[in-house]
């Protein structure tokens, strides 16, 4: 045995989930699964490792160059730990192509890896719910995906004042860049990046970024006018843009469904990933202590086609567990979730271990959740253990009870203790626990 003492800390930017934290995580995911399942979405999963090229192709530069966990395996293949799930989804869909019955309503809750400086809401390993609807071209797909997102938040008890979904359209932005502002390709990228930062920097700093991108004062004025215009005004600027038409149809539908109050058009929403082609959105926390994007998504119509098979339109979003947990905490929506055991089978003395085990087996086969005491200690200590674990009933059988075919049951919620005949025990316990 080695004498050097190993650290007990988890790897930087990752978490250990002890049973209490794991209960919370499961509570959160089960909750999400329930809402998503009510829309008919089916769960899928893929491998933790993917070929490096899968991300080099379409994921944003920052992730690939600065944040990707990649290495060469023992067989000389360059592989990466998945930083996001959408490329895996696209690969899987492309692999089965025509054989899958459309539309596909799929979701997954993978763990993802990014080499980040750990900070509030950002860790190196996090879990991310991914919800995707593939095979639908019209904005009905976006409407459904936004409904799923809203219903998830509502399912946790969030009210419309707690969050807001901000919506934009990539095609609208491209049309404005190219047809209205007449920017060239290199300017477009820099301007898009400046818009992405706009909410976080001073107006002067934003204008400086635009100047550096080669925008003239006229272009800057026109862009500022566009960025602050309400959606209907934008119809006058570029009413022929498919992006504008999609947004009008989208907002008409969500308004008719009564979801208007949590949806807002915002030209600053760009989304960093390269593969979005249509409507993009981000869900924001409106709490003053936590004002930031919780998650986002959008339409990616060309991603499946990059595998050279059939093209397939898609819309989806990814929601991280860390930011969601922060949201639930800051809004007081996280209940105390405790593991649940019905009965502790105590040990009267060390020699009665077989009886204790038989009794525990008997109760488990009747459907109870049962812990049993494996090492003799004073009965007071055994009751204390049950109490600390929140186990309501302690069942004990000493030699006297065994002779009478009875057990003694202590109810820690009331302190009452009673002898019960083995014949009636199951019914009696069921009544106590009902």
């Amino acid at each position: 045995m080695t004498e050097s003492k190993l650290s007990t800390q988890p790897y930087k930017g990752t978490r250990d989930f002890y049973p209490d934290e794991m209960q919370q995580r499961r509570w959160m995911f089960d909750h999400l699964r329930q809402v998503i399942g009510s829309y008919g979405y089916q769960e899928y999963d893929g491998p933790m490792l993917e070929p490096f090229e899968l991300y080099a192709a379409k994921t944003g530069d920052e992730i690939v160059n600065e944040q990707l966990y990649s290495f060469v395996d023992r067989g000389d293949r360059k592989v990466a730990m998945r930083p996001e799930m959408t490329p895996t989804l696209a690969r899987m869909v492309a692999a089965k192509g025509q054989h899958l019955q459309k539309p596909l309503r799929w979701f997954s809750i993978p763990n993802l890896w990014r080499y980040e400086r750990p900070q509030r809401g950002r860790l190196r390993e996090h879990w991310q719910l991914n919800v995707d609807l593939l095979g639908v071209e019209g904005v009905e797909a976006e409407v459904e995906i936004i409904q799923v997102a809203i219903d998830m938040m509502r399912g946790f008890g969030a009210s419309p004042v707690d969050f807001e979904i901000q919506i934009n359209h990539r095609q609208l932005m491209n049309d404005v860049f190219e047809q209205v502002l007449k920017l060239d390709a290199s300017q477009t990228k820099a301007v898009a990046r400046a818009i992405d930062k706009r909410a976080k920097i001073a107006p002067e700093a934003f204008q400086t970024l635009l100047s550096e991108a080669g925008c003239s004062p006229e272009q800057i004025a026109e862009l500022e006018n566009f960025l602050t215009a309400p959606l209907l005004e934008i119809g006058k600027i570029c009413g022929e843009s498919q992006g504008y038409k999609d947004l009008i149809r989208f907002f008409d539908t969500v308004n008719a469904l009564g979801l208007g109050p949590v949806c807002r058009f915002n030209t600053s929403i760009m989304r960093g990933l390269d593969y979005y082609t249509g409507i993009v959105f981000e869900l924001f926390d409106k709490h003053p202590d936590n004002r930031r994007a919780l998650f986002g998504g959008g339409r990616y119509d060309n991603l499946v086609g990059m595998f050279g098979q059939t093209q397939m339109p898609g819309v989806g979003f990814g929601m991280g567990d860390v930011t969601l947990m922060d949201f639930l905490k800051v809004h007081g929506l996280l209940p105390e979730v405790k593991a649940h055991v019905d009965i502790l089978v105590g040990l009267f003395d060390a020699e009665m271990i077989v009886q204790n085990q038989q009794l525990a087996r008997h109760l488990r086969s009747a459907g109870f959740k049962v812990e049993s005491v494996l090492k003799h200690q004073k009965l007071g200590k055994q009751f204390e253990l049950a109490d600390k674990r929140g186990i309501p009933l302690v069942v004990l059988q000493g030699p006297d009870e065994a002779l009478l075919e009875q057990v003694s049951v202590k109810d820690l919620r009331t302190g009452a203790q009673e002898n019960v005949h083995m014949e009636n025990l199951i019914d009696w316990l069921q009544a106590q626990l009902a």
Copy 2:
């Protein structure tokens, strides 16, 4: 967009879980969780990456040198993708040490990585149920762990003729090696390795391995005598060994619990990992087409102590999803598991998408699982879609029905179609689906 075509295949030795396979995986894990939960075990999880040293210290040489996925991260830390869960468990327990209420009954279902040549039952990424009981010194812990394993198998519908648990004791083997055969340390390792291979090689090959390990003909004869002796005979050879005493007590208890028929003493069970200290066991499939170990485990009393804090005894096992799935398949114990959706809300014509979505929302809020048709196609096609997906009811509302505040419901199980008033719809549907 890049023109080079990416492969749609998953990384070698890993699997894509499409919804059907994912349903199977979830069915299997939910099943395991239910049995384990009935014993009061609580779920935990740890990070996918751990410091390399965590495995270098105690995991077997073959895994670390030939099979470990390890690399240096962007911060120059040597890290490894976990090849097994027990070191993470030991680290987590050591970190909280005294603050955890003993005994600990913990389980986890992590995905694990080993660089293996993919073959039947062995993949590079697999999921492994880990069940561990920490803080109990006596063989009562082993008895409980074996019960959990047996109940899991029975829970899947396996009968006692389908599997067998073979049991040995590391301390007994060490005592035989040192006190009976008088082997030195280097011989012990080679002999242990030979015993590990014994079941798979010819008797002569086994004897050759022992000779090469430096065993005399007398030692070989004595060893063969020991290896084939029933447990009670071994009492005559080394009755003072703690290993022998533990085994006697263990078998007395499992026999008293009626579990004797699936438990068998077998001196060939060595277990590859370095950290076992007491009873070790493997569960074997008895099916003629699949004769092999499904999983195994044992006692590891010194693992938590390697972090320099308190020592804590532990017993546990790890069961892989690939081998378990093979077992269920070969024994015909894998049911067809299908995703379940109650209702498809059809789309009468493209203009009625808002009504269709409102109707779907209404039904979901009443607790139904509802898919909705987002793109208009002939009604016959919509019924066909529902049928293929196994959705029993299709609900439709055209302009005539809307005017009468009715919907039309088609039951695909019977072919019957009926108009139902919105006021009675929820109750009516509940009755149909009951």
